[in-house]
Symmetry: C2
Subunit: 127 residues, 2 copies
């Protein structure tokens, strides 16, 4: 999987890395059991600080997506469930709500928001 960090974006580098790993899972480029590089080697490859990679990995571990194996790397341990647990949908909803409110305040209507969400989904899946 190809990871590209864009330092000029407003998004912190650790978040870009975390997001790209999650997008790799969505596209099926990363699967359960796949091994991610060690913090040290990924940091060197990307030319970023080890703390940055560490922060991304720990966030993914907290979400239950990877398991960090000390001194060797990290393993993708996530397998999407058929029925997403209610509490995870509720958590997601709490993050999603203010973003949607901002879209509505900007003057976007339901249809525009729907189209934006659909275009993001297609783009993430590489369709």
């Amino acid at each position: 999987m190809f990871i590209q960090i864009e330092p000029q974006l407003d998004i912190p580098i650790y978040a870009q890395l975390r997001n790209q790993i999650m997008e790799g899972i969505v596209r099926g480029e990363l699967k359960q059991g796949d091994v991610l590089p060690s913090v040290r080697s990924l940091a060197a490859d990307l030319g970023v600080n080890m703390h940055t990679v560490n922060k991304s990995y720990h966030e993914l571990e907290n979400k239950g997506i990877i398991r960090i194996v000390p001194k060797s790397g990290a393993v993708i341990c996530w397998q999407a469930e058929d029925n997403v647990p209610e509490d995870q949908i509720e958590q997601l909803s709490q993050v999603l709500r203010p973003v949607i409110v901002e879209a509505l305040v900007l003057g976007m209507n339901d249809r525009h928001i729907d189209e934006l969400v659909k275009s993001i989904i297609s783009n993430v899946k590489g369709e």
Copy 2:
């Protein structure tokens, strides 16, 4: 407009306050020209720190939604435009994308995400 802060939520209090003011605008309870209380009086009403209210107001000011009037309060100066500028949609898209990726990783499909977005919009609008 009624503002309710829930300290037990994972969302920081300043963000809850900012979100609720934006939701008030979406529902038409707050309109252009309406005056928000001074930082001091809103902080006292809600039983929160003045810095917290200050942070919410400054974020809203940076988004161009309110104008802070020193020593008296803040005025809603936002009026939704018919055509939302491309750069604002792009900014929104950058915030929305990782949330949608998380939904996809959790195993939600396009239809589930669409339903979640629609239910949030209805809920925000008080429908």
